[in-house]
């Protein structure tokens, strides 16, 4: 039985190769019951392969998959209680909408009356009541998406897998569907595993995010944890928009601060390795414009990108390119080519070892 103590899904040391290509390498993560779990990473890091392994479309070479505390590594697909929405939606093109909805129930031997009832419920839940006799090809992308979602939800799966479900939608629809998915998750309370290459999607939707790099999980945590305490350069560079500014730096021998491309910088971190090249990271939101008379770093503005309420300003400091995010009001009057004094607060600096990218000190 499902128990609150067991994770809904546990992958342990999963490895999978296709010929010479390593798709998954000792992949390990837990998903808690009823959680909204995000697998995040750029394309071809193995997100889709992971999902296919969970639902049983791929058999893994080694490692184990547990669903609800029971070993499901070799379980047949239909016994896993897992549904999936494909990036391409994968609707049955030769069946009408209601037949698409009914298909999983028919295959499970559900009675005709029950099928009718559940199709009705699903259609209502997704607000799709019209066009039930149409074929999928006549629907817009957003509608196809909802049908795909409905077909996955109709048999009340224990775990719902979503493989980049929003990638094929336009920006407006994507935004609506994000809200819709969260609403459905709250309403139905099932466990969701959501794969996406989009950090904004990952951060805004995931309660728990696993950042993937070439077949394994680099760091798993809440959006705040990943944002505030990235375990290495890879996570630091992937999470946050615009991306964290990364600069080469070196600890000063007397342990007072850092040598940076734009001069010495006092930091709070102590006991920094003095003989090793470091990478300093600072979020674009953590750099401020110097107030009058405040000691500052002198920079030259290169580019202004107004985004409405926010403005991204890129500038040159000691030969390095940095970006800061300013409110629209703060950005008024800033011109490309102009000199600008900025302040980096020591407590916001992240430090990584250059050699392997591992974080040695995160922002306070």
């Amino acid at each position: 039985m499902a128990s609150e103590n067991n994770p809904a899904l546990r992958l342990t040391n999963i490895s999978k190769r296709f010929g010479d290509v390593v798709a998954l390498e000792k992949l390990t993560f837990d998903v808690r019951q009823g959680g909204f779990f995000v697998l995040f990473g750029p394309s071809s890091v193995g997100k889709t392969t992971t999902l296919r392994a969970i639902c049983g479309l791929e058999t893994v070479d080694s490692g184990s998959i547990e669903i609800d505390g029971k070993d499901a590594t070799l379980a047949p697909i239909r016994d896993r209680g897992v549904a999936m929405v494909f990036q391409s939606f994968a609707l049955y093109p030769h069946l009408t909408l209601s037949e698409n909805f009914a298909y999983p129930l028919r295959e499970a031997g559900v009675s005709t009356n029950e099928i009718k009832k559940r199709v009705g419920e699903t259609v209502e839940m997704l607000r799709l009541s019209h066009r039930l006799d149409n074929k999928p090809a006549t629907l817009s992308g957003g509608e196809q998406q909802r049908v795909a979602l409905g077909r996955a939800l109709i048999r009340h799966p224990k775990i719902l897998l979503l493989d980049e479900p929003l990638t094929n939608l336009d920006a407006k629809l994507r935004h609506d569907m994000r809200a819709e998915l969260k609403r459905l998750h709250r309403q139905l309370g099932m466990t969701i595993v959501f794969a996406t290459p989009d950090e904004l999607e990952a951060l805004s939707m995931g309660e728990d995010i696993a950042v993937m790099e070439t077949g394994h999980v680099v760091q798993q945590g809440t959006p705040d944890e990943l944002y505030e305490r990235p375990r290495n350069l890879y996570v630091a560079a992937k999470i946050g928009s615009p991306h964290m500014n990364l600069l080469e730096a070196k600890a000063q021998p007397d342990n007072k601060g850092l040598d940076t491309p734009f001069g010495p910088l006092v930091v709070h971190h102590r006991d920094l390795p003095a003989d090793e090249p470091l990478i300093m990271g600072i979020r674009p939101t953590d750099i401020k414009i110097a107030k009058n008379g405040e000691p500052h770093i002198l920079t030259k503005v290169r580019l202004i990108e107004p985004l409405g309420d926010l403005t991204i300003v890129s500038f040159n400091a000691g030969g390095s390119h940095l970006r800061i995010v300013l409110s629209e009001a703060d950005a008024i009057g800033i011109q490309p080519g102009q000199d600008l004094g900025v302040v980096i607060a020591p407590e916001y600096v992240h430090l990584f070892r250059k050699a392997d990218g591992v974080a040695i000190a995160n922002a306070a």
Partner: protein, 307 residues
């Protein structure tokens, strides 16, 4: 919905313009002309059929064209197909053409169906469960169609003699099935290749076995391909002459063979009779093509346009 379609079609005519539409009609007429001559000849008496210049207009139109270009239509050729006297003055005899037509339909229909069943399953295998050297196998399958029939006719005849298949339905049906298989496999494989694998995986997650995926998901999507393949196979088999001539017996003779054997006799080639047989022979193929035309169009253009 029908009137919308008609309206759209009218719009298409508008877009192409009358000039192009008429040009297309003229070209079509040139292509269709030989068939038209055959159909007209089927309604001519022997003397009219031999006339030069050719009489192409029924005499109902003699107010429009000079007399020497018109003929008076007759249906006697069609009667003669099935029953006629073989020498002057003799009583009319059954020609056996009802059997030959049955043979043609039965043999072509059965072998195309058989090739479709076997070929579709084989094509699915080649598409979804590729072997090592899959392409080589596919190539080897096609090589059987690379030789002219005349090259393989002697070994095939010997095989038929030894196995006792000569002159039997089983023999000729098996042979035609073997002929149609390479083409069927290649065609159907390309249709299966075009299908989205995600859709099949979705069905597997929805609880379908591989067999149900094939029958419930894949097959319905390639109906157009089946229709196109069936029509092409049917036309090839329907018109086959050489093997039918040498490998069918009196009881299993097909129309093309029987047709050739009406040539000769006391008045030379009976063009009217020949044309009547050909006209009747055209009907089944035209009917099949007509009823499958929507599927056929989708079938032959499959994969050439983005879905």
């Amino acid at each position: 919905m029908r009137w919308v379609a008609a309206k759209n079609r009218a719009k298409e005519v508008d877009r192409a313009g009358w000039g192009r539409t008429i040009a297309a009609a003229v070209v079509s007429l040139i292509y269709f002309f030989p068939v038209l001559v055959i159909i007209i000849t089927a309604f001519k008496k022997h003397t009219d059929a031999l006339a030069v210049p050719a009489k192409l207009i029924p005499d109902a139109f003699d107010w429009l064209v000079p007399d020497y270009l018109t003929f008076s239509p007759t249906t006697e050729n069609f009667v003669n197909v099935f029953s006629r006297s073989f020498s002057t003055g003799a009583a009319a005899q059954d020609t056996g053409f009802d059997l030959f037509f049955f043979n043609s339909i039965f043999i072509a229909g059965f072998s195309v169906l058989l090739a479709l069943v076997i070929g579709t399953i084989a094509a699915f295998g080649f598409s979804r469960y590729p072997l090592k050297g899959n392409d080589t196998y596919l190539f080897v399958i096609l090589t059987t169609r690379m030789l002219p029939a005349i090259v393989v006719i002697i070994p095939v005849m010997l095989m038929f003699r030894v196995t006792g298949l000569a002159g039997t339905y089983t023999g000729i049906i098996l042979l035609y099935t073997a002929f149609n298989l390479p083409f069927t496999i290649w065609m159907m494989k390309s249709f299966f290749d075009e299908l989205s694998r995600d859709v099949e995986d979705a069905a597997r997650i929805d609880g379908s076995s591989d067999r149900r995926v094939f029958f419930k998901i894949c097959m319905p999507q390639v109906v157009a391909g089946l229709a196109a393949t069936a029509v092409f196979g049917l036309i090839l088999t329907w018109n086959e002459f050489l093997f039918a001539l040498l490998l069918t017996g009196v009881e299993t003779r097909t129309v093309p063979v029987a047709m050739s054997q009406t040539i000769g006799g006391d008045i030379g080639v009976r063009w009217g009779l020949l044309a009547a047989i050909e006209t009747l022979f055209l009907i089944p193929v035209i009917l099949v093509t007509f009823f499958l035309q929507n599927q056929l169009l989708r079938g032959v253009t499959f994969g050439t346009v983005k879905r």
